[in-house]
Symmetry: C2
Subunit: 226 residues, 2 copies
């Protein structure tokens, strides 16, 4: 190559302050199950009353997608689940939160973005309903971070579980999941908090939780040592 | 250190043929939701009729743990979900499959085992009931494999999705999940097949799926282009 064609290229870097939740792949997929023959009315009522401001919401026959900023997503989830459980019947909810993979086949983050800007979820109003959950966090790291930290998914998961301990919702470790018990809002805040904590060092992080409310065996949840 | 104390130590290697599913952390956690006021009878009936041979099964107020060999776990899941959906009412199921992390805080695989022995799930009898699912696979790899393959979780996920395409259950890509549609047995076989495919190169692999059967909007599932 002739010398006069040599040039220095620097990768374009996108200022993170300008990035939208859509560009960062921030959102949720969830399904709420209502153990009652009147489930359609109860579930649609809960969805209608929830505040979807700032969110993209689309439902199919399996689950509901919610795209938007973390605080908006969690506010919506808290309201929908609390609304359904407010009927008094047994309700379960499955929640998947994801950040850092806006593409579906490849993770197409904007140029220069390896780890998403740190953020926190705004405090959720107490739902005044007890929830028990099984919770898992998945740090999907392929390479060392910019500051050289070697990937160690179990180290990151344990940091999220430690957060649950500090928040008072930790209720034991079980196969493939951590058990959480508390007010629905506190359980959701723990799930989101662990997810965002791991996201400080890992670009693509998902978390899954199964929540149970008004269970006929809820005595078991209340009896767990905190 | 005096020379006479120097010795060569080789890591003990456990013959994989002798390893139990418990040692390899093979199992599932699942919950079935029945959208009917008679849900307790329907669900307990389905659990009672399912063949739990060779499995450790324990249920709490959130979900059911099933530990054992892959084929036994999938047979049991197929029977429980088909049994509940056989009632004709709307049923959803959440399934988490995990391999390669028998510990709860650290992944305590036997010495010398980095990747689990390759295996396949025995063919499942057709359930004769249509299921739609949202499916995600999580390869949790921290380091290159013994043969030097660099971790790339999206490459591994795409290989699992390609398997779904070849099995005829692939029904599109959506945010954070792949949509699967087919006979319940074929959908479960796809979920397990992708999980085991990724497990050929990654030690710790989990997969999550939300399944919907007898949905009042099931027309949407049937209408999906295959």
């Amino acid at each position: 190559m002739p010398v006069h064609t040599v040039r220095t290229e620097t990768a374009a870097v996108t200022p993170t302050a300008t990035l939208t939740p859509q560009q960062l792949g921030v959102g949720a997929r969830f399904s709420v199950a209502v153990m009652d023959s009147d489930y359609v009315r109860i579930l649609l009522g809960a969805l209608e009353l929830a505040d979807a401001s700032g969110l993209e919401v689309s439902t199919d026959d399996v689950s509901t997608f919610v795209g938007g900023a973390e605080s908006d997503v969690l506010r919506f989830l808290n309201q929908v689940i609390a609304g359904a459980a407010g009927s008094g019947v047994h309700v379960t909810a499955n929640v998947l939160l994801s950040r850092g993979c806006p593409g579906e086949v490849t993770c197409e983050l904007p140029p220069g973005v390896a780890v998403l800007p740190a953020t926190e979820v705004a405090p959720l109003p107490r739902a005044r309903i007890l929830a028990a959950a099984h919770w898992s966090v998945y740090p999907l790291s392929d390479a060392p971070t910019a500051d050289g930290a070697v990937p160690d998914h179990m180290r990151d998961i344990e940091a999220a579980v430690d957060l649950a301990r500090s928040l008072g919702t930790y209720a034991g470790s079980t196969h493939y999941a951590t058990r959480l018990v508390g007010d629905l809002a506190d359980v959701l805040a723990t799930i989101a908090g662990g997810w965002l904590l791991v996201g400080r060092t890992v670009g693509h992080v998902t978390t899954h939780a199964t929540l149970s409310l008004n269970s006929p065996t809820a005595g078991a949840a209340k009896a767990v040592t905190r």
